[in-house]
Symmetry: D2
Subunit: 270 residues, 4 copies
């Protein structure tokens, strides 16, 4: 396969610069965390404060939720984005959130620091072109059954419009296994590293759909040299409006972050 | 599985009324044909004239083409839609074409009689909601790996906005077979008939990706009681800008339409 | 793809000769029917008598049942084969049954007229080689996720041992759809016809797992020029020890056979 | 899902005892290595000597090779098993090799210390029952598209015959990705640990099909607490008769084993 970000062959690995000390794609293993959905002010403030305290610098939170059924919770929309921004600012965090509609990009501009394109929209070329015109980094999730080539071609749609600050995110592919929600494919991390200059992180929460699998798969992501991880947390996972089953609680999160550091330190010395 | 178009349980089968004598979902087996992409005035006029002569009443033609790679032909856009409309009007045909961007819906309104939502956009909920507000029929293709339930839920997104004139279209699913482009799943025709009131047609051109398979699979679609077929034709398939490999020529088209009528007549008597 | 039964390129289509008036692969559409499992003498005699009366000439019945769980009914084994043979002889029927173990081939020789290789054993090369030495026809089912090429290569394992009397049988592939047991892939019928000289039949019972789908899919098999069909029946489907959900009752069977004849007659005239 | 090795619920984790100091499933991370196929005496002796020198205690080598095409190299058969045994004995190694035919089990008994059941035979119930009667450990590979439940049920077929010394081996599943041979699914390691008492190892060679991916995926296997790894090596990978593309050379092997130890030591302290 001879694909890569064609416009930029032969260039160095891409480092996404969010702030003086917040970079994705360099030597650090980036941790992004937050709730599946922004639910209310208290929830998002509690989580933001906690993340800030333990040193996490990027807050995730869904405001626009793509759901298979139109009858399930669809997210708080722009109200959610505002809550997310306020909680992040108060705790000096950066914000990542999903945008699903090209018409929302401009209005959402001030609320997000990284625009997430979800799995269901990896093939939404109108949206890809629109966010390709924006001067903010994009996190592009892999489509549910997309091949690496299709995924990199989706990135190319964005890059061709001028925006090359793209972070790839593996979130599990659809397989016949039904014990897990998806099958998290860690192999793509070294593959992407060899084919592309873009950083790649993993999302073990959607990638597995089970809290008990998030921890070992995050450990494993460090050893395959992923650039980071994005996982869901909730103060009370069992009360979450969506995806509580795959969210870590605060205690588990602290432990996981400690483990990440130790494994990273070990891997760096190899 | 207890899904269906929930808003409309217990109702009669839906018949889409395009004109006094052009209906989809009733007793007729509807034939939709045309080129993969609108290429130029001559091409679309030649095809429209031919279709009109052999009694086909609905013209398909791609103006916005969702392509995996941004470097392949992306379609003529609104210029293509205009050519399509003119050729159709001249030959008293109805027009179906794909819209990919919610911002194009209003502008495209006068050019199309049926709005097609492509496989890659079955999960594009912003687009589904937008076309749910339009008073024109929608042809909703099945997602590349969508289950029947996910497909009907996508239809429900449209219906909830008020537009229940939805035609489902099976266009093949992704499987491990690589001899064909996709695997056309005819089983969904009787499944949809039992679960939903919506009409369903098949697209054997994308569904198989091979001209030699379009003919037997169209025959088969009649026997499983599909409501119609949409297949690609081209005056010179070997010179088509896209998908020539799966397009029928005029002679093959005439023969196929004759065969459809004979099989339909046989099936109706069973 | 340049595969085919390599040893026999350029030869005519293969016709399997079971008897003066029982051939598979010629002009007739062959019907094979019987219960999923042989359960007891009464059951298999009742079914055999019925099949004989309506003109079906080949009786299927499982004696060795490959089941995912070792705790479910595994079939009657050789006792089942004997019951099958007796019931068939009394009603002048030919017998097809699955053999799973190379060590059973010799002992089963007198009880079966066609040896079935099930989907789970398509890659069981020891078994394929063993039955390649037998002078009885083989029905080779497609593996659960096998490509056409892999399937034809499995046939080649048999042919290389000397036995070229091979009938291919499509029985549905594994897909993400969970409304059906498998996804019956009718496209392979014209594909096999173009790549190979072997006859191909379909098994809509396992291919769909639902009685209501067996009928339309069998109709469709006729129109794509399959060489026949193998479907499950049971006097009282709701009381069957296995797969009752997908078995037709006697009345449905009669109706279906009548329909097959009418569609075949229509197709032959096209 | 409520499956597990039903016969043995509530028991402790299984430890497979090959020798006083060779155990699988305990605290050690077991390394199994060797060539894809036994090719000749020199090759297998060179490899065995090397493995012995670097402390690897179990030698793999294919003598019976299940190949999709009957025209590709099928392995040396019993001659290969003998070469494997001699080379192993000379270097004090244990032997693992695949058996495909239930009739070969007895004859192979003295040549192998662990009997491997390959992916294509996970559903070969006759073979599973036969090796269930043997008093040697079994390594059971996951079927190409098997779910965890189906895999554990295959193990249950073996256990029910009396042999509970079963090691599970993840070797990649079939997905739509074509850059890799298979998609190695590391998620199953923690899943199996939570559902079953059996040890589980991974095979990154077949699991990815690419040498460059074997190293990171083996590192990752350690972090998800797999019980070991089985990977292919060859003195001159570019000259191997089969699968050279996925074999490590000696230098890479040494480096990998050193890395495994360091990561294991780090993980054990977490």
């Amino acid at each position: 396969m001879d694909i890569d970000l064609v416009k930029n062959k032969n260039e160095d690995k891409k480092i996404i610069d969010l702030d003086e000390d917040i970079k994705i794609g360099g030597k650090e293993f980036t941790i992004i965390s937050g709730p599946c959905s922004v639910e209310n002010e208290e929830q998002i403030h509690t989580i933001s404060k906690f993340l800030s305290e333990i040193g996490v610098k990027i807050l995730r939170g869904g405001a626009f939720k793509p759901r298979t059924s139109p009858y399930t919770f669809q997210g708080l929309g722009f109200d959610g984005l505002k809550l997310l921004r306020e909680a992040a600012d108060e705790n000096k965090l950066k914000v990542i959130s999903e945008i699903m509609d090209p018409r929302d990009v401009e209005k959402a501009y001030d609320y997000v620091d990284i625009i997430q394109i979800g799995s269901r929209n990896m093939h939404n070329y109108s949206l890809l072109k629109e966010i390709g015109k924006v001067d903010k980094p994009i996190l592009l999730k892999r489509g549910m059954t997309a091949t690496v080539k299709e995924w990199l071609m989706a990135a190319e749609y964005i890059a061709l419009e001028g925006n090359e600050d793209i972070i790839l995110c593996e979130r599990g592919i659809r397989t016949f296994e039904n014990y897990t929600r998806n099958t998290l494919d860690l192999t793509v991390v070294p593959i992407i590293k060899s084919l592309s200059k873009l950083p790649i992180i993993i999302d073990p929460s959607h990638g597995t759909g089970r809290r008990t699998l998030v921890i070992p798969m995050t450990r494993a992501a460090v050893t395959v040299s992923a650039d980071g991880v994005m996982f869901e947390i909730h103060p009370k996972p069992e009360e979450a409006l969506s995806d509580g089953f795959q969210s870590l609680d605060f205690k588990q999160t602290k432990k996981l972050i400690k483990e990440i550091k130790e494994i990273k330190s070990c891997i760096d010395k190899l």
